[in-house]
Symmetry: none
Subunit: 402 residues, 2 copies
């Protein structure tokens, strides 16, 4: 099949339609014992059920059956970007996750403070998990590092974790981690994975030289390792790919960052689902496409708390009438991946998905659940095809060929 964007770019047209993509993070689940119900099947979801009755349901695979994805590839798939073609490095995700405004000349790096012993070997790869009150001022000190020809940004993330960004010309992102993943050995020197990152290696070496000097009296955080060194990938903007003006209404930084990656406008979302719905109502006339993100279906799944996940799904359900009250042309409810409480982690299980629009066919699905979605009219599909379907139902795609 051709590239999604080759078609959406060639065929896109504009109108007054509104599309809402509501992502319940980690939505899909699993029963606690064979033959049982999932979290979504257990939850009372009268409003989501109604969306299904008026819509077409199915199960989406973020990248391939059997493959579990992280939030980055999960969301890229939903945004219609092939998660295999657009690989987002760990450093970039970490920077996006703290709302850092990454640009095309940036190399982003995840840093870990570590402890070096007198022989220069790593004795603790996490510097005794120093608290934020210790980590943050150390990052401010490192942020003063100056290297000719590049800008250096150092930002604290949490405890022993930080983000480093080098900004300048010719900075490749193909550099190995300096964390040896072991104690009793020295940190590794920055080494190239392939050609084109020579300048990054020079800069990283100079950064580490100065950091060693600056931190020398700050044990247990007397040095740091560099991980997930990565460039911002060149990635088409949402507007260019689809011709829609898009806004993100997400509470958590990671998801705001993923939206920023595809050049959506990131709106102030407040703290609660209610705040997010209020923001959606306010911004309704200003955008064509709205990405709303709900985190707690994932976090309760990660906690292994089946009942809490059920409750969070019911909270989400209660917010649906505020969204449908705006009469969106197309409403999609889905997840970026599954997070079954049973596994306390992301999983590969396909994600229950519904698309609702006046042009939907009836498929007989009357309740929103994994088992019901098996019978749905969308069948099982790669999540990257959700965007062309949304644009189609919104009347935003011309015919291909005569």
């Amino acid at each position: 099949m051709p590239d999604v964007h080759a078609l959406t770019r060639a065929l896109q047209k504009k109108n007054d339609s509104k599309i809402v993509l509501l992502v319940a993070d980690g939505l899909g689940g699993a029963p606690l014992s064979p033959g049982g119900k999932t979290e979504l099947e257990t939850a009372q979801t009268p409003n989501l059920d109604k969306v299904c009755q008026n819509g077409t349901s199915g199960l989406s695979h973020p990248i391939m059956p059997g493959i579990t994805v992280g939030s980055g590839p999960g969301h890229l798939g939903l945004f219609g970007y092939d998660p295999w073609e657009y690989q987002i490095g760990r450093g970039v995700l970490e920077a996006l996750g703290i709302d850092f405004d990454l640009g095309p000349k940036d190399v982003a790096i995840r840093g870990n403070f570590c402890t070096l012993d007198d022989g220069g070997n790593i004795s603790d790869r996490r510097a005794g998990r120093i608290p934020n009150e210790v980590g943050a001022p150390l990052c401010e000190k490192l942020n003063k590092i100056e290297i000719p020809g590049v800008e250096v940004f150092v930002r604290h993330v949490k405890e022993y974790r930080l983000v480093i960004v080098f900004r300048g010309d010719g900075l490749g992102g193909d550099v190995y981690d300096t964390d040896p993943q072991a104690t009793g050995v020295p940190p590794l020197e920055p080494q190239p994975k392939k050609e084109g990152s020579e300048r990054t290696i020079e800069v990283a070496k100079e950064f580490l030289r100065q950091a060693r000097e600056i931190l020398k009296d700050d044990a247990p955080a007397n040095f740091l390792t560099l991980r997930g060194i990565a460039n911002m990938p060149p990635i088409p903007t949402f507007e260019e790919a689809y011709g829609t003006k898009a806004a993100a209404i997400a509470v958590y930084p990671m998801y705001r960052g993923l939206a920023r990656l595809v050049s959506m406008d990131v709106l102030d979302a407040g703290q609660t689902l209610e705040d997010q719905c209020g923001r959606l109502e306010q911004a309704w006339d200003d955008y064509d496409f709205f990405f709303m993100h709900y985190k707690y279906t994932d976090s309760t799944g990660e906690d292994g708390n089946f009942d809490a996940k059920v409750k969070r799904i019911e909270e989400l359900d209660a917010a649906i009438p505020r969204i449908t009250g705006l009469d969106p042309t197309v409403l999609i409810v889905t997840g970026d991946h599954s997070t079954p409480s049973l596994l306390k982690s992301h999983s590969w299980h396909p994600v229950p998905t519904v698309i609702s629009a006046k042009s939907c066919r009836t498929d007989g699905v009357s309740t929103f659940g994994e088992q019901q979605c098996i019978q749905g009219g969308l069948g099982q599909f790669e999540s990257k095809y959700l965007m062309p379907m949304a644009l189609a139902h919104a009347g935003r795609l011309e015919k291909y060929g005569a």
Copy 2:
């Protein structure tokens, strides 16, 4: 997955089987309101239902979920040709649509007569929609144009529309339309989209120069614009790709043209479905594969006439016993795309499809309809895989690998 033809070419074998591909144009529909029935679900189709009971059903996507196709890509997909790989330009389709016998050295162009004012600007892009009685003789005059080194053919299509074909060596098809899509401005000069069409541009300029002289006293049709300038794409023949001798039984020129594109024999189909069935019976012993085309499921959908589409489906159903009476080894009933009356246009909705053969598995689908096909044994699939399935059920493909 590998190219369909790489496999069908390598594995094809011959036998006495007969395959009938019955294409009901724009077959798929949609309910007029959420939860309702489609045209096909509403129609009484006892004969098609029986085909489903003996066959395997599913839903086909011409190119990708969400993408609406025209008749060209829609049919290429059904013929097993990837509609993205084989792109058919508008001029080629227009020429095929009037039964013009296009060859590999041809550039085909759709022409529109237009009106130029005294300043040379277009005052009417359709020349007042001149009647056929005016358009046809003007085309005969233009058909006398001579240009050294190329053959020039000018054929009338309808009212202000015509087809121009240049035949010769080195004629590329990458030339922009000369229709400015606006009035009050002059027609555009032929301009290259990319390299390789220099000769076509020279020829087109000379053609337009002579045409302006010939038509100067024929206002409102005192000039013409060139659109959809395109080459015949190199395309494998049906016989080479599949090892079958194929005949097309289609009433409308466009579909005869599409069959000719893949080198099917185009038979005289008469005017009615009854004529077509008679032709099928007559030709039964002479071919392995029959493409039958039924137009009215599309045209009634385009008209937005739900009830008329239902009636046309029932007419098609009534013709099924004449086809099954011939005892084809494989019978496929499908559409090239959906055309819901709701939308009055082609749509992206997947197309109800059934393949019937003695080697089919039972899938529980007992009536032919979109919702029923969701549950069918073919699932959802790209239409280009229909041909390998048809050949398989016909015993016309060897095993791949030992």
